[in-house]
């Protein structure tokens, strides 16, 4: 049963429930906002960087994720300790800098204060995606970008993003999985721009340097070299921002205190119930 974050906060304080502080390590979930870089305005990296400056990630973690996560710096989660790199370009919450970047990119405010208009499609399966969309709209209003929020059902969303590419921006979460070659590569590798394949490279981002890094990391046997390759990858992607990573999300399970052995592996609710019993 999915539990709303707001309910989880309330329920975990009740004496009969507990939220174990482990259990989902194999997934390393992240929340992000992705751009369709085929669109004229969003093709300009300065526009994407301006949007990153306009988003207060601390606020998003506090107000949208209700503290079930930490601010992310790039496309590899801190949960993947050996691959995560701190040495990346970060974007301080700074409206003036965002406005300056947009001015430099040539998108002046019109008479109504609007520079241009984009659409945003939250993944329509849980409340936090809609909240992220609403915050995105409000935040971008301050830098003169008008955001139109759209809703649809799950299958329509999948088709819109990954088959028709008929979107400007969207937000969702995804799993890094135990290795970046499994869960991260798919969003940034240009050969994975695959129509009809959910959670592939939907942004249309294509950079031969990134492709080369991802491909060699996939087959590299030297662990240290792989770490180096992924560090370079994180540097380039945080510079070019086809996705803005918002937060490393801590998925969790809410358990009755009568349940024993439910948090018995790194796969959380995707694991099995072999060791579970009632006290």
């Amino acid at each position: 049963m999915p539990v709303a974050l707001s309910d989880a906060r309330r329920l975990k304080d009740l004496p009969q429930f507990v939220i174990p502080d482990k259990g989902f390590e194999a997934f390393a979930a992240q929340a992000w906002i992705e751009f369709n870089v085929r669109r004229p305005e969003l093709r300009d990296v300065r526009v994407r960087q301006a949007i990153a400056h306009a988003l207060d990630k601390n606020f998003m973690v506090r107000a949208i994720w209700l503290g079930f996560g930490t601010v992310a710096t790039g496309p590899i989660s801190t949960a993947l300790k050996q691959f995560y790199s701190k040495d990346v370009k970060t974007y301080a919450f700074n409206i003036e800098q965002a406005n300056k970047l947009l001015d430099d990119a040539g998108y002046k405010r019109g008479a109504n204060g609007i520079r241009f208009k984009i659409t945003h499609d939250p993944l329509p399966i849980a409340e936090f995606y809609f909240r992220t969309g609403e915050y995105f709209k409000q935040a971008l209003q301050k830098i003169g970008i008008d955001v139109e929020l759209r809703t649809q059902d799950y299958a329509t969303w999948i088709k819109r993003i990954y088959t028709d590419n008929d979107f400007d921006s969207q937000n969702a979460t995804s799993y890094n999985l135990p290795d970046p070659s499994m869960g991260v590569k798919r969003y940034f590798w240009s050969k994975n721009i695959a129509k009809g394949v959910p959670f592939s490279n939907g942004s249309g981002y294509s950079n031969p340097a990134v492709d080369a890094l991802l491909e060699s990391a996939q087959v590299e046997n030297d662990a240290a070299k792989r770490v180096e390759q992924f560090a370079s990858f994180q540097r380039i992607v945080t510079e070019e921002l086809p996705q803005i990573t918002i937060a490393d999300i801590q998925w969790f399970q809410l358990e009755s205190r009568r349940v024993r052995g439910a948090a018995n592996g790194p796969y959380g609710m995707h694991g099995n119930l072999a060791g579970v019993s009632f006290a």
């Binding site: 299958a155 999948i158 088959t163 799993y175 695959a194 009809g196 394949v197 959910p198 959670f199 592939s200």
Partner: protein, 345 residues
Amino acid sequence: MARMGCTATWPASALPDIVKNSRIWRLLLSRLGRSAVIVAGILVVNFSLLHLAPGDAVSVLAGESGGADKEYVDRLRETYGLGRSLPEQLIAYAKGLLRFDLGWSFRNNTSVSELIWSRVPATLLLVGASVSVAVFIGVVLGVASSRRPNSATDNVISVVSLLAYATPAFWLGLMLIVLFSLKLGWLPAGGFRSADLDLRGFAAAVDIARHAVLPILTLSMFYSAIYARLTRASMLELAQFDYVRTAYAKGLSERAVRYRHVLRNALLPLATLLGIQFGSLLGGAIVIEMVFSWPGLGRLAFEAIMARDMNVLLGILFLSSLLVVFINIAVDMVYAILDPRIRAH
């Protein structure tokens, strides 16, 4: 419908008459023939409409499992026959139907007919019991309020049925859960039976009945109100007719006139409405089944829409349309039993 000066009392030999009456059999045959055309039309319309929805089962399956690669997705579409053109898919589906094969649910990995049959009892219980309760309450209240129009009883019944008519079913259901499950703790808040699988026989029946009370009450409320209003109106209208005065003149008691002469004719429009509303009752059941987590066809249909599980959805819609068509034929036949004049014409 002509209701001129003819009393409709129950002839002792009604049923044998019907069996012998060739008119009725011809009527039945022509209705069946027409229904075949209607059902085929419904099938084509359903099929075309459903495929207007963006996305397919594979995008949902692969999306929910967190992603996939191109080869895997392509192979799934190939296996499920989703790569073919729509007319080809329709012809394949219709061919299957002729062999009584409703197809395969790729999402549930079981045959559609098995899936549907496993859900039929719950919906049948919900809809059947709701219709019975609605007709019973509706007729009782309708008769009671028609005895003395504009009396206190009549006014109270009118206000209550107006309220029941105007209340959205999903809201009523949620409020009943709040009252009876959360506050009072008398009845379970949802589901078809409790997790205790050891219940057998009578105990199991009581368990299911306890789960069924709130959904049945919720679904029947709206229809009870309509039937009460309808029964009251037709009772009052029929009381003005000459044949009723004739019946009184014959020296029959008020009771006999009310129940044998007036009520019996007043049931005819009710039967018509029941037949027409059966489809919407199945539709209403979807909302109730979602509110009460009732494992019936309605919830199966809803889940099938979200998952783009077209075979399941087509199967449910096809069977529902069959059911509605046959219920309406049955209603036509019930007229013949209720009203001898229809047999005569």
